[in-house]
Every structure is written in C-alpha cells, then in structure tokens.
C-alpha cells in the first residue's frame, strides 16, 4: 500500500523526465499523472483511517494521507486535466507538459507532507515550476512578473526557514506537531512564508498582477491549484495549533473583505478574477473542516473562468455591454460565476453553507456580508449579452472547460463520500436556499448601486515591488501582535 502511494508521488517527476526524452508522449503522460491523482484522491475519501508514512527513520520525511486531502487532490487532477484538454496535443511548446507534470507532482507533495522541511522543499519546487511557466523570454513584462514572483516567494520562504530552525531548536523535530507549543516569534515567521505562498490579505498583493499577466492556461493553474499548495498546509498547522487557527481566521476574513473591494472597482476582467482569488482564499482558510471543499469549488470555477478569458471580447469590463458573447462561452462563464457567488445546486453554494455552520456568529455574519460583495463582483461578468445569431454549433468551446463545468455539478456529491452526510442535507433547507437567493439579489442591487460611481472611485496602487516586500514585514509584526494578544 505504502509502496503504491510513494510510487504515485514519484510518478509525475519520473514521467516529466521521460517526457524530455519523448516530447511527443508528454501530453499523454501528463494525463496519466492527473488520472492517478484523481484515483488516489477518491480512494483516500473512502479510506477508514489516516495513513502515516515515515520515510528514512525518525528524522526523515513524514507523510500524512487522509480524507482531508481528497478535495485538494481531486482539484489538482481536474484542473491539470482541463488545462491539458484545453491545450490539445499541440507540439508548439513541448516543455509545457514537462513543467505541468513537475508542478502537479510538487503540489501533490506539498499536500501530503507532514513536516516543515519537506513542505519547504515542495513549495520551492512549486515556485520554480510556476516561475518557468509564467516566464516568456520574448516578453519583457512577463519576465519581470515571473522574476517578481520568484523573488517574493523566495524571500518569504527564507523567513519560513528561520521559523523552522527555531521550532527545531525548541522541540527537537520538524514535524507539524511541533508548532503546538511554539512561541509567537517562530509561528509568525512560519505564517509569513505560508501566507505569502497562499496569497492571503496583504501578503497576497503579488497575486493580481501575476495571475493577470500569465497566459490563460497558466493563470488557470495558478489560481486554481497553486495557491492550495500554501493554503492546505496552513490548515494542517491550524489543526495542530489553535493559536494559528484563530490568527488565520481573522486574516482570512480581512483578506476576503479587502480583496472584494478591489475586485468591485477593477476595470480589467483578468485582474478582477485575480483579486477575487485573494478574497476566496480568505474564505478557504476560515475553517480546516471546509477548506478542501471550498478550495475545490473555487478552484474549478476560477480555472474555468481563466480558461475562458482567452475568448472574452475585451479585457475592459466597461465595454462588455456592447459586446455580445457566443453562447458556448457565455454559458460556462455564467455557471462558474454563479458557483463562486454561491448559487444553489453548484458546489460553491454547498461549500459556503457548510462553512457558515462551522463558524461563530460574528465570522458567519461577516462571511454573509462579503458573499453579497462577491455576488456583486460576479454580476459584472453577466453584463455581456448573448449573441443572437447562431453562427453554427460551437459548443463545446473546449473539452477542458466542459470537464470543469461537469466538475462544478458533480463535486456536490463529494461530501457524501465522508462519514457525515448530515450537513449536506441541512444545506438544502428552504431557509438556506432562500438566504442564498437573497444574497445573490443583494449582490445585484449593490452592483447597480455602485455602477455609476465606478469610474470616479480610484483605489491606491498597492502592487509595486516595494509594497510586496514591505507587506511581509508588516504582516510579521501584525501576526506577532495578534499571537501575543
């Protein structure tokens, strides 16, 4: 059993190197990796108890595989497969499939590892692969964005390493359990690293430009799954230490509110999607119990929207009202937007309902308020009319998008696999359904209300390089204050 799991972890790297030798088979190899991850993810959902693997002795690598990982692994598999299907077997850039497999494998490693140093290594590999995917050496702007991404990520992970060293010095091990009794200093250093990698609150200021400038398929990977490589371990740490849990809860809420405001006023559609990622990651990290489902719902929908972004008539949202979209683009786009906004029957709604059951009264109220904001943000994607004249049957726009839309509906069944299907039934009560429809209507009203003022309202530019680096210092200080308090 353990040998199979380790084989699954190593498979993407093995196939990535093989694909360098046989580039023509790269596409199929990458698809095999995604299928293997999907199977392992679903199998873990049925596993009766958690599997712990300790490699090379007590000081070696420790892995923990349990039901918590199921949605994350399914998400990684689905988004990877969708990007491959969307791309087709084109030979134009053979290194793409290689990098995709390496990225896929390193995200899997970041999800399953259960000690601080393995996590560091996995996150660095994720950064390097993402950097190589973003960088296009023919475009200066793309090189600059990629360089910025790697520089910010490496700086954050150096802070994380100092935190690891201090935890080792006080507890004698690098295991996640070591954070339980740790003091504020090491915890703050660890959190600065992980918050930057998952793109939360002001640690996530690097995210909007990076995700908006990257090619559409890479953006789908970045927004869909790469952020979960930071968010999922953050939730593991929050499970191990309640101090981290409460700090991350409030930072998550702050992130959601802060980014919703930026998304509401953003004129560019790709940047709007990227800001919305910052706000949705905030909701993902609110509770370890719902993190997986929420990340799955958001990741599928956001990857779908980014894949569709290539077919948008314009990136400027104010022009959308005069630009009709073909039905084959408009339908998946509207479904994905509805899912993130929390429309019933799509997975986003289920995740939001379960999250509200887990939270205390004040955070739950704030989540409802921010949901109205999210609904207002996604109402803007509905602005474009649907093309009346059918110019031939164009559906599907791509099989990748079709896969993701199917995922949006089918993921509703995922919580049934666990042992607690009760919240699933509770989420379909008339009161919950009415509330979510109310939130959607309120979102539409907010959208209409601020529409006339949008041109006059300008938010400060907070995405310059100095802001990104400076925000780490601010966040570190803020976390120490929160932990001591």
């Amino acid at each position: 059993m353990n040998a199979l799991l380790i084989g699954w972890l190593l498979l993407p790297f093995l196939l990535a190197f093989s694909s360098a030798l046989r580039p023509k088979l790269g596409w199929w190899m990458a698809l095999i990796c995604c299928t293997a991850t999907l199977v392992v993810g679903l199998a873990l959902g049925f596993a009766p108890e958690a599997i712990r693997i300790q490699l090379v002795g007590p000081f070696g690598v420790s892995l923990l595989l349990d039901g918590f990982l199921t949605p994350f692994l399914v998400l990684n598999a689905l988004v990877g497969a969708a990007v491959l299907l969307d791309r087709g077997q084109s030979q134009e850039d053979p290194s793409f499939c290689l990098l995709l497999m390496a990225l896929h494998g390193s995200i899997n490693s970041a999800l399953v590892c259960h000690d601080l140093i393995s996590l560091y290594v996995a996150l660095e590999v994720v950064s390097l692969c993402a950097f190589l995917l973003i960088a296009d050496r023919h475009r200066v702007q793309s090189l600059w964005i990629a360089l910025r991404y790697l520089l910010v990520g490496s700086t954050a992970l150096l802070f994380y390493l100092i935190g690891c060293a201090q935890i080792h010095a006080s507890h004698g091990s690098f295991g996640f359990e070591g954070v339980r009794g740790a003091t504020a200093g090491p915890l703050a250093l660890l959190l600065v690293g992980l918050l930057t990698k998952s793109g939360l609150f002001i640690s996530g200021l690097w995210l909007p430009r990076t995700h908006a400038e990257a090619p559409a398929q890479v953006s789908a990977l970045l927004s869909g799954v790469v952020i979960t490589a930071g968010a999922a371990p953050l939730m593991r740490l929050a499970q191990a230490s309640s101090a981290i849990g409460s700090v991350v809860l409030w930072l998550g809420l702050a992130s959601t509110g802060f980014a919703v405001v930026f998304a509401l006023l953003e004129p560019d559609v790709k940047r709007l999607l990227a800001w919305s990622t910052v706000s949705q990651v905030g909701l993902v990290v609110l509770s370890p119990l719902t993190a997986g489902l929420f990340a799955l719902g958001h990741g599928i929908a956001k990857a779908c929207l980014f894949l569709l972004a290539r077919h948008f008539p314009s990136r400027r949202l104010e022009d959308w009202e005069e630009m009709p979209l073909p039905f084959s683009v408009a339908l998946p786009m509207r479904l994905a937007a509805l899912s993130i906004a929390g429309c019933p029957l799509l997975v986003g709604y289920l995740a939001k309902e379960r999250l509200q059951l887990e939270l205390g009264p004040l955070p739950a109220l704030l989540v409802t308020v921010f949901s109205v904001g999210t609904a207002a943000v996604y109402t803007r994607l509905w602005a474009s009319p649907i093309q009346r004249v059918p110019s031939g049957w164009t559906w599907p726009v791509s099989w990748g998008v079709t896969l993701l839309v199917a995922g949006l509906v089918l993921s509703n069944g995922l919580p049934l696999m666990g042992h607690d299907s009760l919240p699933w039934l509770a989420s379909l009560k008339p009161a919950s359904l009415g509330k979510s429809l109310g939130v959607l209507l309120a979102g539409w009203a907010v959208h209409r209300l601020i529409q006339p003022f949008r041109a006059q309202l300008r938010l400060p530019d907070v995405e310059r390089f100095d802001d990104l680096i400076g925000s780490m210092g601010i966040m570190g200080t803020a976390i120490v204050v929160m932990l001591l308090w």
Binding site: L128, W144, L147, S154, T155, L158, I162, F465, D466
Partner: protein, 116 residues
C-alpha cells in the same frame, strides 16, 4: 551573541531586498539574507557540540570525548543551500535577459506598464 549577529545578517539582507533600487543588487541582497539563514542553521547545529557527527567503528581509534554537532539541521540546510543556489541562478538568467531591454535594471523602470 553570534545568534543575534547571524539574524542581523538575515535582516540586513531583507532590508536590501526592500530598499535597493537596482534589481541586481536586490538579488544579491537575497543571497545575503539566505547566507544569514544558513548561518543560523549551522549555529543551531553547533549548540550541542562541534565535532563532525560521524561514528568511528574501528577499534584502534580512541573515541574522543568532545560532543557531536546535531546532524539534522546540517542535513536540512544542505538542501536549502542547493535550492537557494538554483533560485539565484534562475533569477540571474532572467536579469541578463531583462538587462538587454533595460540596461539600468532600475525597479521603477520595470514597473511602468509598457509592453516590450
């Protein structure tokens, strides 16, 4: 005392990344910061002792009495050094590409949203 100095090195590197206007110097500052972190790990490993943690099994060698250094942080930081080195290499490659378009490598010039 040495611990504080090593952490000050890391902090100086961080301030360099923050305050230097030139991209090349920012990347060098990242290296300074990474040197500080490596020094911190080595220092922690040396807290229990200075001797190389290798057991002598041959009976002729008299076992010395000085205590061992902790091998775990040493092994860990070796990985981090390799990763840091590859990150530096990649960053410098990108910088050489950027320098063809922006020979001054000033960060403010990069942030202008002009498409090249």
């Amino acid at each position: 005392m040495i611990e504080a100095l090593v952490l000050v090195t890391a902090l100086a590197g961080f301030l360099g990344v923050l305050l230097r206007r030139n991209l090349f110097l920012k990347v060098l500052a990242l290296d300074v910061m990474s040197t500080g972190v490596i020094g911190f790990f080595v220092l922690l490993a040396a807290r229990s002792g200075l001797r190389t943690p290798i057991l002598e099994t041959s009976p002729e060698v008299v076992q010395p009495v000085s205590p061992f250094a902790d091998p775990v942080p040493q092994a860990v930081i070796l990985t981090a050094i390799v990763i840091g080195f590859s990150v530096q290499a990649l960053l410098l490659v990108v910088i050489t590409h950027l320098a063809r378009r922006e020979p001054t490598l000033q960060v403010d010039a990069m942030e202008e949203p002009t498409e090249g």
